[in-house]
Symmetry: C2
Subunit: 201 residues, 2 copies
């Protein structure tokens, strides 16, 4: 006997919420209940914000960022230095760099990393579009800010190969000790890299 605990509307809401990263089946149930209790403060506004995002949000055709316009606010910002591009794996990385206000330049979102085991090849990422941009937009420096994983580094090397012969300086983020990090907790690779790139005080 499959008992009907609540209405199908609520069950459907719980099932969809369970697919949100960070929530599982159990916490989705708790989240749904909390939302329903805070109907006017949370459930209503959230439903509105989601349908607004659904209607208005799109992918920037230039860089791959997610925004309400294409080209996105970053790509169409004339105050940004135009000759440098930061290459990131994912929109989340772009947002992280923007939050940190690292550099006032534009970006290029790859949409992932090369991963032969998962069947992700160069054609699944926006690498051809990147090569195109470097050429047409007269990019002088390309900062490859992919994750420091094997896949990320493989992707960085592949991009470097694709740009061979073009007049563009290719750089990557420095390896080192994270600010506030404790040496004791760092892996040997990071410590070796940090030591090798040591700077004078």
């Amino acid at each position: 006997m499959a008992k009907r605990v609540t209405g199908p509307e609520i069950e459907k809401l719980i099932q969809l919420l369970a697919r949100v990263p960070g929530l599982g089946p159990r916490s989705a149930r708790r989240a749904a209940l909390h939302m329903i209790k805070k109907k006017d403060q949370l459930l209503g506004p959230l439903a509105g914000a989601m349908s607004e995002a659904f209607d208005n949000v799109r992918e920037c055709q230039t860089c791959g960022n997610i925004d309400t316009s294409s080209p996105c606010a970053i790509c169409s910002d004339p105050r940004r230095e135009q000759a440098t591009l930061i290459v990131v794996e994912d929109v989340a990385d772009l947002w992280a760099l923007e939050r940190a206000e690292v550099m006032n330049v534009r970006y290029h979102v790859l949409g992932g990393t090369l991963s032969p085991l998962d069947g992700i090849g160069p054609d699944d990422l926006s690498i051809a579009a990147l090569v195109d941009r470097v050429e047409k937009e007269n990019i002088a420096e390309l900062v490859i800010a992919v994750n420091a994983t094997v896949e990320g580094q493989t992707t960085a090397h592949y991009i470097t190969d694709q740009l061979a012969g073009m007049d563009v300086k290719i750089t990557r983020l420095a390896h080192g000790v994270p600010v506030g990090g404790e040496l004791d907790y760092l892996d040997e690779g990071t410590l070796t890299a940090a030591m090798r790139s040591r700077t004078s005080l």
Copy 2:
């Protein structure tokens, strides 16, 4: 300079998501991004499910359950044994008992527990309505299934006092070792209670 990383629609969505239990500011950002990427499979349906829940879900005026009708499906189910009521703190507890198919009876949701420190008194809970139901619905047994916390037990005692003199049997859930639980991880109170209520094999 507060940089505009994404459109205000997305920022608003992230801010609202951060108020969902189980999500924090960081995971809300990740969740929003994931939803936007899975626009048609997740963001759209979720927006729809939420606005449907917003429009249709209400509190059952009889028991306090959350459903699309009032009285709720449980209260209006004639196949449930009518002479027993299970008293729970919260709708989540009601759902948990229903999922476990513990007993085919009806419920009464208190809406919390007595907590003088938080300023929650008897008038903030649906205790008067419970006393009323016990009388008018000829309840023979009241299972007080509140949490085994100090507040829960205080509330259970208060309810018992309120029902003094009425012809109703008041019971509570048994204390003991959770099924699958390891003795090593249990507190002394539970072990003592489990030993005291030991049963013959």
